[in-house]
Amino acid sequence: MSHVNVTLTVNGTEHTVSVHPMARLLDVLRTEVGLTGTKEGCGEGECGACSVFIDGVLTNACLVPVLSASGTTIQTVEGLEGAAETLGPLQQAFIETGGAQCGICTPGMLVAAASLLRRNPDPSDAQIREGLAGNLCRCTGYTRIVESVVDAARRMKEARS
C-alpha cells in the first residue's frame, strides 16, 4: 500500500508525515517524529512501555495504526509537564523516591501515573497499583513506584494550595 500523509499534533507541535497507513503510531513517533522516549517492550499492548496520551486518553502506541490517530493531539513522556528544563513533581518524585531503575518502563509508567493523577489527584495505594497495572516493571517490585506516585500527589497538592 502506498504512503499517505498523516497530521499529528505531538507535544504541541504539528507534524505531517508520509507513512504507511497501518504503520504503528509507536514507530511513527520514534522514527518520523524523532521522539524516542516512548519505548517498545512487547509490541502487543501488554507492558505499557509505549503509553502515550491520544486526545488525553491513555493509550498503548504499539496498538494504534497511525491513520486512526490522524488529526489527534498526542502527548508523550517528552511533553509531560516538567520534562524539559525544571522537572515536574512526577519526575522529581520518581528520581528521589526510587521509582526508576533501568528506566525502560519509566516513560510509560510516568504517562500512566500522570493519567491516574489527572483522574484522581489523591489516590490510595490500592488505586495506584490498579492504575498502573497495565505497565510492567521488572526492576522495582513496584513498591517505590507506588511511593513515587504518592509523593508526586503530595507535591502537586502542595503546589495547588
Binding site: 512487547c42 502487543e44 501488554e46 528521589e96 526510587g98 526508576a100 519509566t106 526492576c139 513496584y142
Partner: protein
C-alpha cells in the same frame, strides 16, 4: 545524616535522563546508512543441515546473507569453553539456533526474507529433560551428557544413617525462568578495515563481548571496541548472550561494509536467549528429635541446555549454597550440569543458588512438619555461628547473629500472632479461603566464587581534571541497579568532593579498564573498593607533590588539581584487585573460602490460597537482611524489592512451557510476570552490620534466593499440602488439593 556520601540515599545520577525520555537505549540510536539485521534460526531441536534455500519473490541480490562460512576467524563464541558456534555449521543442537544472518536497509524486506529462507534438515534424536539427559540413551554432548560434575562437603554422611534417630528424603524441582527485562536485546555494529569492529548495545559485560569477538574476527583487542548504551534491565540475561548478537551484527557489518542494527522483538528474545537453569534436587537428611541436622546428602542437577556456556559456574554457586546457612558436620553435595536440546540456559540473578536453596528451605520445613516442631525452631537449632564452618569448610569469621536476623523478621511479619490466627482460621473455616505464613533463612556469597576474582584481576581508574572534577573509569555497567550513583558516592567520599563533580564514564572498551563483568553481586563490593583505592591513589599523588594537606575539603582538592596540572599532563589514580589476606580456595576439592563475604537474610511471606480456584496470592512480604555497610538505602531497598518480586514470579506465576525444546509461551501475554496488583507491599529492612568495620556486601542476587521457599512454605502452612516444585501453578496446586481431599 551520616558523614559523607556513603550511607545516604543520593538520587540516581542518570535519573534525569530516564524520567525525561532523554536516555538513549540501543533501539533509540539511528546510524546513517544503517541496515537492519535478522536471524534465521533452527526450527528443530537437533539435526544435520542438508541444504539452505533462499526462496520467494525477494530482491536476494540486495540482501546481505551471512552463514558460518563467512566468519573470518574461528566460528566459536569464546566463554569458558568454545563449544558454541556463532552460526550453526552443518548441524544444529537446539531449537532457535542461529544459522543464517540477513540484512537490508528496509526492515520489512529483511523480515519477509527471514521467513523465506528454507532449511532442510536430517533430524537427529534430542533430549528434553534432566532425567533423559542422565539416562544418556541419547547422547547430545560428550560421552554422557554431563558438562560438569562436582563433589563437595565434609564429614561422612554414610556413617550417619545407621544410627540416625530420624531420616527424611525429598525431591524438589525448579523451572526455567525468563529474565524478561523490559528492553529486549539489541546491538548496532560497524566495521572499518582500519579501526576494526565497533559494537554498541544493551549489555552487562563489555569485555566479555570483546573477548568473544576477537577470535571470531581474528582481531586484536584494540580493534574490537564495545560500548554500552543505556540498558533496560539485565538480571544476568545480558551477561553472555550479547556476545552472540554482537557477533552477528558485526559479521553482517563486516560483510556489507555498512552499519547493522539487530534488535530482537519479544518473541525472538524469549525463545532464543538464555533462561534460569531448571533444576532437580534430591535431599536425604538425618536429624535428631530437636531437628539438629546430622547429615545432608544432596544430589543437585541443573539443565544447561545445548552448550556449556556458563553452566559450570552456575553449578558451582548452586553447590556451595546447597547446604544453606546451617551447621552440619556431615554433608555431601554431588552436583551435575547436564546437556539437553534446549537453547543454553544461562546467567540469571542468583546463578544456581536460588535452585539449591529452594530445595533445602522447603526440606527444612518438611523436617519441622515431620517432627511436629515449629519451622523457626528447627532452623534456629542449626544456624551457623561465628567460628563455625560452612559445608565447604569456610570458617565464618564475622560475628554473625542469625538469631537476631530471624527475630527481626518474625517481629516485622508478626509471625507468632499470624501463625496462630491462620491455624485457627484454617481449622475452623468451612469456606474456601486458607491463610498461611512461611519463612526462609539463607545467605548469598558476594563476588566471584573461590579464586574467580583473582583470575579476573580487575582494574579501575579514577582521573582528576585540572578543574578538580573526577572521572570514574570502569567497565561495570549501570543496568538499573545504581552503579553510577554508588560509584559516585564511594569516590566522592574518598576525595571529599561533592557528587556533582564526579563523572562516571559510560563503559567503552576504548576508554575504560577491565573492572570485570557486572555480575555476581560484585560491582559495589569489589569494584567499589577498587575505585576507593584508585581515588586514594589520586589523593596520594597530590599529597606527595605537596599540593594537598593531610586533611582537606573540596575547594582545597580543586586547588590541588589546578596546581598539579601546572606541570603535569594528567592525574590518574589506578587500582588493581588484590585478594584479601588469608583467603584460600581449593578448586579441586571444593574446600575453603568460597566467598570473601556473605549477605545473610530471613524472609517471611504471608499468603492467601483460594482452594476452589487454587489461586495463590502473596499478601505480605518481609525481607530482612544483613548486608554490611549500606551505601545507598533507597537504591539498596530497590534491589531487594525488585528481586523479591521477580522471585515471587518464579514461585507462583512464571511458567516456561516447553514444546520439543522450544518455549511455547514467549510473550508477555502468556508468560506472566507480576504486575503492581499481583505484588504485595515488600517490607525491607537492613540489620545493623554484624562486623564492627563492615564492608558493603553484594546484594543484587540475595533477594532472588529466599522468596520461593518462603512462599511455598506459606502455601504448605495454609493448605496442608506438600508442594515440591516451582513455579507452583494453580493446576499443580489443584492436583495436590484434590489428592489431599481424596485421601481424607
Amino acid at each position: 545524616m551520616p558523614d559523607g556520601w556513603v550511607g545516604r540515599s543520593v538520587p540516581r545520577r542518570e535519573g534525569r535522563d530516564k524520567v525525561t525520555g532523554a536516555a538513549k537505549y540501543v533501539d533509540d540510536l539511528h546510524v546513517e546508512g544503517m541496515l537492519h539485521g535478522a536471524t534465521v534460526r533452527s526450527t528443530i531441536p537437533r539435526g544435520k543441515i542438508v541444504a539452505i534455500h533462499y526462496e520467494g519473490d525477494l530482491p536476494w541480490d540486495e540482501i546481505v546473507v551471512a552463514t558460518a562460512a563467512d566468519v573470518p576467524g574461528a566460528n566459536e563464541v569464546k566463554l569458558i569453553q568454545t563449544d558454541q558456534p556463532l552460526l550453526a555449521d552443518g548441524v544444529v543442537n537446539h531449537v532457535e539456533e542461529p544459522i543464517v544472518l540477513l540484512a537490508h536497509a528496509d526492515r520489512e524486506v529483511v523480515e519477509k526474507a527471514r521467513r523465506h529462507v528454507r532449511i532442510e534438515y536430517a533430524p537427529l534424536p534430542s533430549v528434553h529433560s534432566i532425567d533423559d539427559a542422565l539416562a544418556a540413551d541419547t547422547v547430545v554432548w560428550g560421552t554422557d551428557n554431563v558438562f560438569t560434575h562436582y563433589t563437595a562437603g565434609q564429614g561422612n554422611v554414610d556413617a550417619v544413617w545407621a544410627d540416625a534417630p530420624h531420616e527424611l528424603s525429598g525431591e524438589y524441582t525448579t523451572g526455567a525462568q525468563e529474565q524478561m527485562y523490559i528492553e529486549a536485546q539489541g546491538m548496532i555494529a560497524e566495521y572499518d578495515p582500519d579501526a576494526g569492529v565497533t559494537v554498541r548495545g544493551s549489555l552487562q559485560c563489555p569485555y566479555y563481548i570483546q573477548t568473544a569477538l576477537c577470535p571470531l574476527f581474528g582481531l586484536p583487542p584494540d580493534k574490537v571496541r564495545i560500548v554500552q548504551m543505556a540498558t533496560g534491565g539485565g538480571f544476568g540475561g545480558k551477561e553472555e548472550y550479547p556476545s552472540i548478537i554482537a557477533g552477528h551484527a558485526a559479521l553482517l557489518a563486516y560483510k556489507s561494509g555498512k552499519p547493522v542494527k539487530i534488535v530482537y522483538d519479544r518473541i525472538e528474545d524469549v525463545t532464543a536467549t538464555t533462561k534460569r537453569h531448571p533444576s532437580r534436587t534430591k535431599i536425604r537428611s538425618a536429624f535428631d528429635d530437636t531437628g539438629k541436622l546430622l547429615a545432608l546428602d544432596i544430589d543437585f542437577v541443573i539443565d544447561g541446555g545445548a552448550y556449556i556456556t556458563l553452566s559450570p559456574v552456575v553449578l558451582s554457586r548452586g553447590t556451595i549454597h546447597a547446604a544453606g546457612p546451617y551447621r552440619c558436620d556431615n554433608v555431601r553435595v554431588d552436583s551435575r550440569a547436564v546437556a539437553t536440546s534446549s537453547p543454553p540456559h544461562g546467567a540469571f540473578r542468583g546463578f544456581g543458588a536460588p535452585q539449591s536453596i529452594f530445595a533445602l528451605e522447603r526440606h527444612m520445613d518438611r523436617i519441622a512438619d515431620y517432627l511436629g516442631l515449629d519451622p523457626v525452631q528447627v532452623r534456629r537449632r542449626n544456624l551457623l555461628q561465628q567460628g563455625q564452618t560452612s559445608s565447604v569448610g569456610q570458617t565464618i569469621d564475622e560475628p554473625v547473629d542469625l538469631d537476631k536476623l530471624v527475630d527481626r523478621a518474625l517481629a516485622d511479619a508478626d509471625w507468632v500472632a499470624k501463625r496462630k490466627a491462620f491455624d485457627e482460621h484454617n481449622a475452623s473455616t468451612t469456606g474456601p479461603i486458607r491463610k498461611g505464613i512461611g519463612l526462609s533463612v539463607f545467605y548469598h556469597g558476594s563476588g566471584f566464587t573461590g579464586a574467580g576474582e583473582v583470575h579476573l584481576a580487575s582494574k579501575a581508574v579514577v582521573e582528576a581534571t585540572a578543574e578538580g572534577r573526577l572521572r570514574v573509569l570502569a567497565a561495570s555497567t549501570e543496568i538499573g541497579q545504581g552503579t553510577n550513583t554508588i560509584f559516585s558516592q564511594i569516590v566522592g567520599d574518598a576525595a571529599h568532593v561533592p557528587i556533582d563533580r564526579i563523572d562516571v564514564v559510560q563503559p567503552d572498551t576504548a576508554h575504560v579498564p577491565n573492572s570485570g563483568p557486572t555480575v555476581a553481586s560484585r560491582t559495589c563490593m569489589v569494584v567499589g573498593n577498587l575505585l576507593a583505592q584508585a581515588t586514594a591513589d589520586v589523593v596520594g599523588q597530590l599529597q606527595g607533590a605537596g599540593h594537598l594537606p593531610a586533611t582537606w575539603d573540596a575547594e582545597q582538592f580543586t586547588a590541588a588539581c589546578r596546581a598539579w596540572y601546572a606541570d603535569h599532563d594528567a592525574l590518574v589514580g589506578r587500582a588493581n584487585y588484590q585478594p584479601p589476606a588469608g583467603v584460600h580456595w581449593d578448586e579441586k576439592n571444593f574446600r575453603g573460602d568460597a566467598y570473601s563475604a556473605y549477605a545473610w537474610a530471613c524472609y517471611v511471606a504471608a499468603v492467601t490460597v483460594d482452594t476452589r480456584t487454587a489461586e495463590i496470592r502473596v499478601d505480605d512480604f518481609v525481607a530482612i537482611q544483613e548486608i554490611g555497610k549500606t551505601v545507598n538505602p533507597i537504591l539498596a531497598g530497590g534491589q531487594i524489592e525488585g528481586g523479591v518480586a521477580q522471585a515471587i514470579g518464579w514461585a507462583v506465576y512464571e511458567d516456561v512451557v516447553w514444546k520439543d525444546g522450544r518455549v511455547a509461551n514467549p510473550q508477555m501475554t502468556n508468560y506472566i510476570i507480576p504486575t503492581a496488583v499481583d505484588t504485595p507491599p515488600i517490607r525491607v529492612a537492613f540489620l545493623e552490620p554484624f562486623a564492627p568495620q563492615p564492608v558493603a556486601k553484594g546484594i543484587g542476587e540475595l533477594p532472588m534466593d529466599g522468596p520461593a521457599p518462603a512462599v511455598l512454605n506459606a502455601v504448605a502452612h495454609a493448605t496442608g499440602v506438600d508442594p515440591r516444585g516451582v513455579p507452583l501453578m494453580p493446576e499443580t496446586l489443584m492436583d495436590l488439593l484434590t489428592t489431599q481431599e481424596t485421601a481424607q
